[in-house]
Structures are given as structure tokens and as C-alpha cells.
């Protein structure tokens, strides 16, 4: 037993070190114990300062540029949605429950926006580093993948579909992008994509979107299909 343990007077202080190292099981009771034990809180606070220095021992590696771009694309889209949603998203509804939300204002706004994803929002952004505006159209999401988010970003003649929190396509399947001009069957594209383990991804939508009324995504066998074999999971309705 170290002199420190003798001094603390709390036998659970032995869990402070594994706690700050992230080595306790997630359902461990030590977290609850901390709420009522000033001794252990002080121990954790001191050891946490040490643990915070450990990343400095890691060999430095450059973060991939594509990673930064993906993160920023999502953040800028969400920031514009927040702005477009306005301050009223931060206000409680007039017939709100008496239960107080534990979410902060930003999260409240975020939830409000997430709920509105079923609708279609079109926002024109300033494209950093370019004179061309970026037109962002939020996709409608099928109930089968509720929780997913997607938007089509158009700048100049290019269009990119950006998705997040989207489930992996079923085993042996891949997501395929389709263009619908309304009067004819959806046209297949060679835009096939999957998503990362975190559910994010992006794909360039090829071809001219002139006259296209909807950009759709279905789940298709690997290699893609010439005709949709399943219902769309994403649908982006474009304005004329």
C-alpha cells in the first residue's frame, strides 16, 4: 500500500488510475462513486493531468486532407442549416412539457433540424475559395435508415452527395445513385458508394443535372443495377 492510499482514506481511490486511463468497464460504479467522494475526485483530477500529457508521446502523423475536408463539409452544411433554422429553434415550444430538457441550446437546435430532414431545405452557401455559390439540398430519408443525414452539394456543374450516420448497405449490396427526370424511369449512374464505419461518405454525382427532378439512392447488388431493385433510401428533390 502506498503512502498516498493511506492518506486518502477511501478504499475506492485504487480505481482512480484505471478510471483516468479509460481502463474501467463502462458500467463500473466508480463514476457514480465520484459524485459523492471529494477525495477520489481530487485524486482523479490530479491523475487526469498526467494522462492528458500521454498523447504528446505519440509519433506525429499528418491528418489526411480528405478527412479535414469531409469534416468541414459536414460542419458547414450543419452550420448553414442552423442559421436557416433561426433562433426560434432555441426556444421551447409553447405547449412544451414541464420536463426541462438537459440539452443545451445548440443541441436543441440540432434536434429540431434533424427532425426537419424529412422536409426539403435548399440553402445557397458561399463556396470558400471559389466564386461559385454552393447549393445544398437536404435529402429526404427513408424510415428504414432513419437517423441518417444526406445532402446534395452543387457548385458550378459539379454535384456531390454527402451522407452521414448512414448504415452500411446490406451484405453483398452497394448504394447506387439514380437520376429521375420525372416522366421516365430513373436513370442509373456509375456513382456507387458505401460508407465508413461511422456512416459517413460522399460520392460525385456524374452527368448533367439539368432537367433532373430527383436524385435518388437505392441499395443494389455489387456492381450496380440498370434498374432499381429496391425502394429509394434517399431522395433529393431538386427545384427547377
Amino acid at each position: 500500500m502506498s503512502s498516498r492510499e493511506e492518506n486518502t482514506g477511501c478504499e475506492q481511490s485504487v480505481d482512480a488510475a484505471p478510471y483516468v486511463l479509460g481502463a474501467l468497464d463502462r458500467d463500473d460504479s466508480f463514476r457514480a462513486h465520484l459524485d459523492g467522494c471529494a477525495t477520489c475526485r481530487a485524486e482523479v483530477s490530479e491523475l487526469q493531468l498526467v494522462v492528458d500529457t500521454l498523447p504528446a508521446t505519440v509519433p506525429p502523423v499528418l491528418a489526411p486532407r480528405a478527412l479535414r475536408e469531409r469534416v468541414l463539409a459536414t460542419v458547414r452544411s450543419e452550420a448553414e442549416l442552423l442559421r436557416a433554422a433561426g433562433h426560434q429553434t432555441d426556444e421551447p415550444p409553447k405547449l412544451a412539457s414541464r420536463r426541462r430538457s438537459r440539452r443545451g441550446p445548440f443541441m436543441t437546435a440540432w434536434v429540431a433540424i434533424a427532425a426537419s430532414v424529412a422536409l426539403v431545405a435548399v440553402i445557397v452557401l458561399n463556396n470558400v475559395g471559389s466564386t461559385a455559390p454552393v447549393r445544398v439540398t437536404v435529402a429526404q430519408v427513408a424510415p428504414s435508415i432513419s437517423g441518417a443525414q444526406a445532402s446534395l452539394r452543387q457548385a458550378d456543374s459539379r454535384a456531390e452527395l454527402v451522407v452521414s450516420d448512414m448504415p452500411q448497405p446490406p451484405l453483398g449490396k452497394i448504394y447506387e445513385v439514380w437520376l429521375s427526370r420525372g416522366s421516365t424511369s430513373p436513370q442509373p449512374t456509375d456513382a456507387l458508394f458505401s460508407v465508413t464505419g461511422s456512416g459517413s461518405g460522399s460520392v460525385n454525382v456524374p452527368g448533367n443535372l439539368h432537367g433532373v427532378k430527383e436524385v435518388m439512392v437505392t441499395s443494389e447488388p455489387l456492381g450496380g443495377s440498370s434498374r432499381p431493385t429496391s425502394s429509394p433510401v434517399l431522395r433529393v428533390v431538386l427545384r427547377a
Binding site: L54, A56, P59, P60, L72, V75
Partner: protein, 179 residues
């Protein structure tokens, strides 16, 4: 961070630029695979963006808060992966896996504080350094480490604490890290 919490994407971009390399480096050190590290870093920064209001500067620097999120996300990823992958990631000496052109400029990154920490960690008794690395970088729980090392859980916890306390004794300038 107040601006980030208010949904300012430009403010977030500054945070991302300042901490992306450190976040990715930690994720890569822990996960051992670039694709997984990218996922972890991406999830972490989006979580940071969406929870900026929770940042409390009285409890540490933005760097520490960011890397704390990365660490938790990486642990989640490791605990979803196979033990084999985790053993590999927690092994020492991942440097050989890093392509030279990917390295950041050591002159820009290295500083006296990180050198001091590295030396202090390397100077710990092997059994203490091992449990700290298995826990922090490998994402193993104390019970898993006890099983791997065939040691009592109490011994593992004791080694963790002794190691951290020795580090604390060595690191008189830790407050500067991440400032």
C-alpha cells in the same frame, strides 16, 4: 470555443486546423489502421462540433478536451474490434508503420514538453509502463490486462497508479501541454 458552441463553422475550422494532426496521431497510435483512425478522428470532431457547449475551460485546454473525445472514441472502436487487432495496436513501436512522407515536421511538432514526457514514460519500470500503455493506448480494461499479464487485478491497478504518480513527479511543466 464559445463561437463553436454557437454554431460558428469558421471558429470550428480553426479548432480543426490546430488539433487535427494531434487527434489523428492519437487515433492512429491507438487503432493501428489509417481507415479506422480516420473514422475515429472524424467522429470525434463532429461530436466536438455538436457538443461544443459542453466544453468547460476551467477543466482543461481545448487540446486536452479534444484528445479526450478521440481517446474515448478510439476505445469504443478498439472494443468493437478483435483482440488481435488491439494487441497489434497496443504494441510499442508503431513508428515503422508510418510512411515517412506522412510525418509532420518534427521541428514544428516536437517540443521540450513532449520530449520530457516521452523520456519520463520511457523511464518508468517496464511493468508500470506496460499497464499504462495497454490501458491508455490499447484500450484494454484492467481485468483484461490482469488476464493478459497473469497478474492480480489489484496489482495491475497499483502499477497504474504508481506509474502515473511517478510521471507526475517528473513532469513539472505539464500545464503547458496543449496550451
Amino acid at each position: 470555443m464559445q463561437l463553436v458552441a454557437a454554431g460558428d463553422a469558421n471558429a470550428f475550422e480553426i479548432v480543426l486546423e490546430r488539433h487535427a494532426d494531434a487527434a489523428f496521431s492519437l487515433a492512429y497510435r491507438m487503432c493501428g489502421r489509417r481507415s479506422v483512425a480516420e473514422d475515429v478522428a472524424q467522429e470525434s470532431f463532429l461530436a466536438l462540433w455538436r457538443s461544443g457547449a459542453r466544453y468547460d475551460r476551467t477543466r482543461g485546454s481545448v487540446r486536452s478536451w479534444t484528445l479526450g473525445i478521440v481517446h474515448n472514441r478510439a476505445i469504443d472502436a478498439l472494443r468493437r474490434s478483435s483482440v488481435h487487432d488491439r494487441r497489434r495496436a497496443s504494441a510499442e513501436g508503431l513508428e515503422e508503420d508510418i510512411e515517412a512522407p506522412e510525418r509532420t515536421d518534427s521541428q514544428a511538432i516536437a517540443n521540450a514538453v513532449s520530449d520530457e514526457i516521452r523520456v519520463a514514460l520511457g523511464g518508468l519500470p517496464a511493468e508500470q509502463r506496460r499497464v499504462i500503455e495497454l490501458a491508455y493506448f490499447g484500450g484494454f480494461t484492467h481485468t483484461e490486462i490482469a488476464s493478459m499479464l497473469d497478474a492480480p487485478i489489484g496489482t495491475v491497478k497499483g502499477r497504474m497508479r504508481l506509474g502515473l504518480e511517478k510521471l507526475r513527479g517528473h513532469l513539472h511543466d505539464w500545464e503547458a501541454v496543449g496550451a
